[in-house]
């Protein structure tokens, strides 16, 4: 058993535990922090799987930007910081767990039966190659994504911005 | 007259009304006279056109489809604009154009509330296109389209111009306006039938070399292309589609409601033409394309018809509403038509066609009269009417005449349909269960007695006796010129057909015989 594998198992263990924490903790900040850990562990996993550029992006975009966004969101919406018993919709728990559990079992069953293989960890950076492919073979989606982002930007700003006039007028 | 024979004439007969309807909508509302005049003229032109087709029609070859044409319509599904008429459709086509003219004449002075002549007349014209189209269509899809086109105008005619009295309906908690209930019932029933009918058409299409052409399918059908469960199913759905329209017991319940609720002209058109679409469908499509199935189903149809005759007559005896009574009488009369069709003999089917025409003329007239009376008296309750002969002598006399015609008085049009249908049913096609048919025939014969019973009873209650005092105060107007102009032609037609049935038989007989020969062999 190689060292990579052992590390990987630990990472996987960590992933699961942090992920569980994300969805079960009754403290919103804890949840967000746990997500940071989850993502960080994912990034490490990506590194092991020799996708260092993706790992990098993950760290930059997610941990750097998205989580901050989340924290902002949490604060702006004045979610109760600290322990909050009302964070979960308790009624949904049993059914939610049942659905999630069955999805898990189903997916695992199929994945275990469906895939098996060795992973040879390539050494060296593939970032250069990745960049080239991204900007040649996949240039079209690349351009398109910019539209998505632009749309999200414009729309997000429009929606999120404060317009007292409008609200007053259309208040139901 | 090249134009008349190559299909253009027929096309004009079909589409002229709807084009006129469109033009009509462009005329400003205030020009009421122009609207009425235009509608009348266009319907008359249509009628004249259809009559002009007569000399072009080769009566010695009445069994051939004539004056038609075939143009590609929807290529991808091989549906064509294929039209033509033979001896079977000719009388019905002319009846349709004729009745429309009368309906419009009547409407000139007798628009139901809320007036708005534009919409009303436009709907009549659209309706005419649907009716004429159904009778000339020789392509299943074309047939289907025309078959359905009639629904909308009739729906609106009942719904907007219909009877506004509120009544309670079985199974509904709240009371509901007659017209609303009736209109949707009519629509849903018919659509229910035709939705399945369409599936049947598609079934034929796939088993029949991917063609929707009725003549081609007849060739296939008579050579035994459709057999087994498939054919049974297809006939079942076609039966459903047509039987609802006829209507056959127990699918008839939309009819009394629709008739009761419809405005006078609506009832007239409904009774005179719309009901015929169903029975015409049987003759034109169901029987020749699926002869074996027709044979298998014939006893069932005969039994249902017999039930319909008796049931309709008995229901009539229980009615207090004049229009509803006439509506139920339609159930009985169409029972005779279907009994004739079920016999699958030349006599029976000829009887069915003349029965259809006669019923159209007579019941149309009955609805004209009852509608006019309802308009005059503001009631259709036979308990309150009475002494109509005294109050409205012209209307009363015509009502008496028409009731006599309706009960199948020999010498008038109604007789031939009844008598010949019974004649046909007594000896049905070889191989059919004679006992069933003869029992049905006896039931039908008893039905004639009941028919006489309820019509005479109706006359006694409505026409005869001393008028009730409540009418003393009211100013009652007897039939005016427009009404008479709409009615007298029907009276004349009733007598003419009664005395000289060759008017109809002359056209239909060859066609029917050849149709049956094709379907069932010599």
């Amino acid at each position: 058993m190689e060292i990579f594998e052992i590390v990987t198992y630990f990472i996987l263990l960590g992933l699961i535990s942090t992920a569980i924490r994300v969805v079960t903790t009754s403290n919103v900040i804890h949840a967000a922090i746990s997500l940071v850990f989850t993502l960080a562990l994912t990034a490490i996993l990506f590194l092991i799987l020799s996708s260092e550029f993706v790992a990098l992006v993950l760290v930059l975009v997610y941990i750097g930007a998205v989580i901050v966004l989340f924290l902002f969101g949490i604060m702006i919406t004045r979610a109760p910081l600290g322990k909050n018993a009302e964070l979960d919709n308790d009624k949904n728990k049993k059914l939610g767990a049942a659905i999630a559990g069955s999805i898990f079992l189903l997916f695992s069953y199929i994945l275990i039966n469906g895939f098996d293989g060795e992973v040879t960890i390539a050494s060296g950076s593939s970032t250069e190659l990745l960049g080239e492919i991204l900007l040649t073979r996949f240039i079209f989606p690349f351009e398109l994504v910019s539209f998505v982002l632009l749309a999200a930007l414009i729309g997000g700003i429009t929606l999120a911005r404060k317009d007292e006039a409008l609200i007053d007028k259309d208040q139901v | 007259m090249e134009l008349l024979t190559n299909g253009i004439g027929l096309t004009a007969v079909v589409f002229l009304p709807i084009i006129s309807a469109l033009v009509l909508t462009a005329i400003p509302k205030s020009q009421e006279l122009l609207i009425k005049g235009f509608a009348l003229v266009s319907s008359i032109v249509t009628f004249v056109l259809s009559v002009l087709l007569l000399p072009q029609f080769d009566f010695s070859n009445a069994d051939k489809l004539q004056l038609g044409n075939k143009i590609t319509w929807i290529k991808s599904i091989n549906a064509n604009y294929e039209i033509g008429i033979d001896g079977i459709s000719l009388p019905l086509l002319i009846l349709s154009t004729f009745i429309t003219v009368l309906a419009i004449i009547y409407s000139i002075e007798h628009l139901p509330e809320p007036k708005s002549p534009k919409g009303f007349l436009a709907l009549i014209l659209v309706l005419e296109t649907g009716m004429n189209g159904t009778f000339v269509a020789l392509d299943l899809i074309l047939f289907f389209v025309f078959f359905e086109i009639v629904l909308l105008p009739m729906y609106f005619m009942i719904g907007i111009w219909g009877d506004k009295t509120v009544r309670s309906v079985a199974g509904f908690k709240n009371q509901i306006e007659t017209r609303l209930y009736a209109s949707i019932k009519f629509f849903v029933f018919t659509l229910f039938g035709s939705a399945f009918m369409l599936l049947g058409f598609l079934g034929l299409y796939y088993r029949g070399n991917k063609t929707f052409s009725i003549p081609e399918l007849i060739e296939l059908g008579t050579s035994g292309a459709f057999t087994g469960t498939f054919a049974t199913l297809v006939f079942a759905v076609l039966f459903l589609g047509f039987a609802v329209k006829v209507p056959m017991w127990p699918l008839h319940t939309w009819l009394p409601d629709a008739h009761t609720a419809a405005p006078t002209v609506g009832s007239v058109l409904l009774a005179a033409i719309l009901l015929k679409l169903g029975s015409y469908g049987f003759i034109r499509i169901a029987i020749p394309i699926l002869p074996e199935q027709a044979k298998a189903w014939a006893p069932a149809i005969a039994i249902l018809s017999a039930i319909g005759i008796i049931y309709g007559s008995l229901a009539c005896l229980a009615q207090t509403d004049l229009k509803r009574l006439i509506a139920f009488s339609s159930v009985g009369h169409m029972g005779f038509v279907m009994l004739g069709i079920a016999s699958l003999t030349p006599i029976g089917i000829n009887a069915a066609i003349i029965g259809m025409v006669a019923h159209g003329v007579i019941t149309g007239l009955l609805f004209f009269l009852s509608g006019s009376m309802a308009h005059t008296y503001h009631t259709r309750d036979m308990g309150r009417l009475g002494g109509n002969m005294k109050l409205l002598p012209k209307t009363g006399a015509l009502l008496g005449f028409t009731a006599m015609a309706s009960l199948g008085l020999p010498g008038l049009a109604g007789f031939w349909g009844e008598f010949m249908a019974l004649l046909g049913a007594f000896n049905p096609l070889d191989g059919l269960n004679v006992t069933i048919f003869r029992s049905s025939m006896v039931a039908g014969a008893i039905g004639t007695v009941l028919t006489a019973g309820y019509l005479l009873w109706m006359l006694q209650r409505v026409n005869l006796g001393e008028p009730s005092e409540e009418w003393n105060e009211m100013e009652l107007h007897d039939a005016d010129g427009y009404e008479l102009a709409a009615w007298i032609p029907l009276v004349i037609l009733t007598i003419l057909i009664g005395v000289f049935p060759k008017l109809i038989f002359g056209a239909t007989n060859d066609a029917v015989v050849s149709l049956l020969t094709k379907a069932f062999g010599g």
Binding site: - | A170, L314, M420, G424
Partner: protein, 671 residues
């Protein structure tokens, strides 16, 4: 497309002519009345006599035409028929036409004569009555319809004439339709006839289908030549045709309409009972006689049975009637029973002979009764009496009619009734013979009773009766002449012209012709008549009044049964009409609105209901409901939380994912 068809008599030695132009234009007889009816309807009001003159003119020309035909027929014999094709259907040709032969000419003559006299009479009788013009329209149509019937060479035309007669009778009986009783009587007549017509219709259908033709002459040809098709159904068809005849000719038990038909004006009754309508049944049986005789003789037995029953039962009812017209009406029923029974016994000529004589004397009696009623304004004999003095003409003619009916020589009824009795005797139908003799006795009795109560004794009514004017009495006198003399055309051993007239037909008639008087029958019949008259006179004239006379013969419970007409009407109403009209019809209506409609509406409601259930319980908050059930008791967070429990987004999500899971499981592990 007139189909000229000369009838050849292969089996007959006599040579008959085709009738020439006169026969060829006989269609005028049929068409004229209808044309006249139209004229009267539309223009009658504007004419000086309100349309009556058109009717008179028409019927007059018909009379003249029929006399001409009769003359031609007597001199050279005519047998011819003409066809007009009005349509083909399947293998059948539908044809109208007219037949000119002995039977029909005899009928033309009867109809023409009686109708003319009745019309003349009616112009006066109906003076001042409502719907005078329309009355003549209907009356003309009535005569015309009868002519359609008797001129018919095809079964289909028979049916047409048959029903037209019915309709006209409906119009005429219900002439005073302001009173419900009258319109009900009209309806009763029509419906009863319609019921019988069903028999006729089916009979015609059977005959037509088994012979392949609707022409009567061809059917008779096949019948007499033992064609298989027709022979097999002969009995059924014969009975069915007879059912039709029972309706029109008022045979027991379908006679109920005829007495009620008195609701119409008296001239109508006269016409109906004498010449048109009731004779139609007898005419039909006579027309089809060769068929019955050759292959449906079993049916004839039944015909005879019903005829005899009718003649007896109706005669008995006549005895107890107080209404003058009803006495005559039941008398007609009874006499029709004679005719039918005669046909049943195979006496073709006898039946027609009785029809012929009966037409005249019954018309006479009715018109006389009408004259009386006109004078005293009542139908009831209890309010008459002693009119002999004030109405001498009416009285004397009525007496002639009475003795003719009672069968005293040398009046017409004597010869015809005697021929019937002779035929019975000849056929060896002993029982029936004696019943018929009994009938003759009853006839004489009730006629005497009627005469006594009406004309003899003292006047019991109110008002001042007076003799009718000449427009009414002249027809009476003419008819009296006929009633007296019309029997002389067929005196056995002396002159039997009538037999020749009516047997002049394409299909030869084989029957018994008495060569001389059957003295046994003659004696018995005459005795019965005389006893009847004597008894009647004894009871009613010598005792003076109806009550005392009646009390002598009032034998309970028979009298009550007779007064109630054997309860037949009650039976019909209670067990047939009411159940159908009230119970069955109501039931059907209820079924329609409450079962079928409810069923149909039920579909709509089920759909709507399902929609509501799905919408409320599954689509929108099904998960919620589910959760509430599965986690009751978790609402422990207080009021605020409770309000929040109905959130929807997550339930949508659950539905979504639940769908995914379900589908996956379904596809991966089940299918």
């Amino acid at each position: 497309m007139v189909n000229f068809n000369l009838i050849l008599f292969a089996e007959s030695e006599a040579v008959y002519t085709d009738g020439g132009v006169l026969a060829e234009f006989s269609w005028l007889l049929v068409v004229l009345p209808f044309f006249a009816a139209l004229l009267i309807t539309f223009f009658g009001k504007y004419l000086p006599m309100k349309g009556a003159e058109v009717a008179l003119l028409t019927i007059g020309s018909i009379f003249i035409y029929s006399v001409l035909l009769m003359y031609l027929h007597i001199t050279q014999g005519i047998a011819n028929e003409f066809f007009v094709n009005v349509g083909s259907i399947g293998q059948f040709d539908i044809e109208f036409g007219w037949v000119v032969d002995g039977l029909s000419i005899m009928m033309y003559f009867v109809v023409g004569t009686v109708a003319l006299l009745v019309f003349i009479y009616a112009t006066n009788y109906m003076q001042g009555e409502i719907r005078y013009t329309f009355f003549f329209t209907s009356l003309t149509l009535f005569a015309g319809s009868m002519l359609v019937l008797v001129s018919s060479p095809t079964l289909i035309q028979i049916l047409i004439g048959w029903e037209l007669v019915g309709v006209c009778s409906y119009l005429l009986i219900g002439h005073y339709w302001e009173k419900k009783d009258n319109s009900s009587a009209a309806m009763k007549a029509f419906i009863t006839n319609k019921i019988a017509d069903v028999g006729l219709m089916i009979g015609i259908i059977i005959l037509a289908l088994n012979t392949g033709t609707l022409r009567i002459s061809e059917i008779l040809y096949q019948a007499t030549h033992d064609y298989d098709g027709i022979t097999n159904v002969a009995f059924t068809a014969g009975i069915l045709l007879f059912i039709g005849a029972m309706g029109k000719s008022a045979q027991f038990p379908l006679h109920v309409w005829l007495p009620d038909a008195m609701a119409g004006p008296t001239p109508v009754s006269a016409l109906m009972h004498a010449a048109t309508m009731v004779t139609a049944g007898v005419y039909l049986l006579a027309r089809m006689f060769p068929f019955y005789q050759s292959i449906a003789s079993e049916a004839l037995d039944i015909v005879m049975l019903f005829g005899v029953i009718t003649l007896l039962t109706a005669g008995l009812i006549a005895v107890v009637q107080d209404d003058l017209k009803k006495v005559l009406a039941y008398s007609t029923v009874s006499q029709l029973g004679y005719m039918v029974a005669a046909i049943g016994s195979g006496a073709y000529t006898a039946a027609l002979f009785h029809l012929w004589t009966h037409a005249f004397f019954k018309a006479l009696l009715f018109l006389g009764a009408g004259s009386v009623i006109h004078a005293v304004h009542s139908n009831s004999m209890l309010e008459m009496g002693g009119l002999r003095k004030v109405m001498p003409k009416t009285f004397s003619t009525f007496i002639i009619g009475t003795v003719a009916l009672a069968g005293l020589p040398p009046f017409a009824g004597f010869f015809s009734k005697d021929e019937i009795l002779a035929s019975f005797n000849h056929e060896g139908e002993t029982t029936f013979f004696f019943i018929a003799v009994l009938g003759a006795f009853i006839t004489a009795f009730y006629m005497t009773r009627a005469v006594s109560l009406t004309f003899l004794g003292e006047y019991r009514g109110h008002g001042h009766p007076h003799e009718s004017d000449s427009m009414m009495t002249t027809p009476l006198i003419v008819l009296a002449v006929f009633a007296a003399g019309s029997g002389w055309v067929n005196i056995p051993g002396v002159y039997t012209g009538f037999t020749d007239w009516v047997t002049t037909r394409k299909t030869p008639i084989i029957e018994y012709h008495p060569e001389s008087f059957d003295l046994f029958a003659l004696g018995l019949g005459l005795t019965a008549g005389l006893i009847g008259i004597a008894l009647g006179y004894y009871l009613y004239q010598l005792q003076g009044s109806a009550e005392t006379g009646d009390s002598k013969i009032k034998v309970e419970p028979i009298w009550t049964v007779l007064e109630n007409k054997y309860y037949i009407d009650d039976f019909y109403f209670k067990f047939i009409i009411d159940p159908i009209k009230i119970n069955l019809a109501k039931a059907v209506d209820v079924i329609n609105t409450n079962v079928i409609d409810r069923f149909i509406n039920g579909f709509g409601q089920i759909a709507s209901f399902l929609g509501a259930i799905i919408y409320n319980n599954i689509d929108q908050n099904g998960i919620d409901k589910f959760l509430n059930i599965s986690s009751s008791g978790t609402d422990s967070f207080g009021g605020k939380v409770k309000l929040l429990q109905t959130g929807r987004t997550q339930q949508y999500l659950m539905l979504f994912l639940g769908g995914v899971v379900t589908i996956s499981l379904l596809i991966l592990f089940i299918i």
